[in-house]
Amino acid sequence: MSPSLSYLFLNVTNSCNLRCSFCGVNAGVALVKELTLTEIEAVLSEARSLGATRVLLGGGESFLRSDFLDVLRLCHDLGISSTIETNGTLITCHIAECLKEVGVSEIGVSLDGAKPETHDRLRGVKGCFSQAIRGLKILKETGLSVGIQCLLCNSNYSEISDIRDIAVKLKASFRMLPRILPIGRGKNVPAEMVSVQRLKRLLDKLFEEERTSPSTSFDVGVGPALMPIDLLNKMGMCNLAESCGITSDGWVSICPLITDFPELRSGNIRKEALARIWTDSPLHRFIRELPPKDLKGVCKLCVANETCRGGCRIHAYSVYGDLRSPDPLCQQFYEKGIFPEYALRRSRP
């Protein structure tokens, strides 16, 4: 019997109409041989038979695929709940109606600045802020569930609260990713990386704002140990033991963010069945079977390691080169002496 696969991250294209300075997959131009609709249908169908009930569709910019709505229909027909990540610039009333028709679960729109100039500069195209806002409004007016997501960097540090306010006003979920991953173009912008002390100050401010004026949904992308206890129920986590990622050219891994790490490819769906890759590949077996106590650094000492299992493994791998490495943020908090004492085990190895 195959181990349960509940979630699929599927990048449908690497093509993108923006040029975000921190893009982890170097999106811009479509990959040489991206998956066809028939191939996507086959892999979705196989994922469904392995138990998958949810898929996150991303890219690149998914709406640049001319058959993207067909992909969504396939998900719908197979009984797979779909969620989309988009830069929001290509949303039209017609597209929004189609999304509603195929029952898309939620559309996450990226907003990396509260000011047009900040968002446009970070995303490399003038005017993309107003297009994203227009897209968000259309989605809301159509009655769809919408999220706003932002990636924290030094350029937008002072605007994060305002981005959260936009989410609150639009009744959209809010999510912040606190770190630019040092992969893809993210490697080229070290000056944008926010220091741990500044991040801590921002987190404390956001936590306070969330207590006084709660958003529809709030997540700041840190592990449970870095969340205040009273807001712990608002966080989300990747469950890599039950999910896998597929790149737009068919490579399978724990997540599609593996552009820089061909060694993390577990197989290609053009050569092998997904079931076989998912069940037998050493990579997925390693992730599934990795005991939390074998995590390194602060994660080994943390009370929460069975819950978060070390957080984003691609982040850990990109920083330390080992899938057992600690969550880089938790480790940096620990090294700076600001990791909460109560999250550390009483008896430490």
Binding site: E106, G108, S110
Partner: protein, 59 residues
């Protein structure tokens, strides 16, 4: 000593919340500056927690 007791109490509260989180949340996602499905799942988690709290109150 007082500090130790405070840390111990917080550790207990933290562990209790983690247990609920483990029981009620499944998968969220995180990719290229964004997470989408996690939003909905967190909503589900909160609904479940509200339900559990309600049931405990009734007991």
């Amino acid at each position: 000593m007082e500090k130790e007791i405070e840390v111990e109490n917080m550790r207990a509260a933290f562990s209790q919340k983690l247990d609920i989180l483990k029981k009620t949340s499944k998968v969220a996602s995180c990719i290229d500056g964004g997470c989408s499905d996690g939003f909905r799942l967190r909503k589900e988690t909160m609904e479940l927690q509200a339900l559990i709290t309600e049931q405990l109150k009734r007991k």
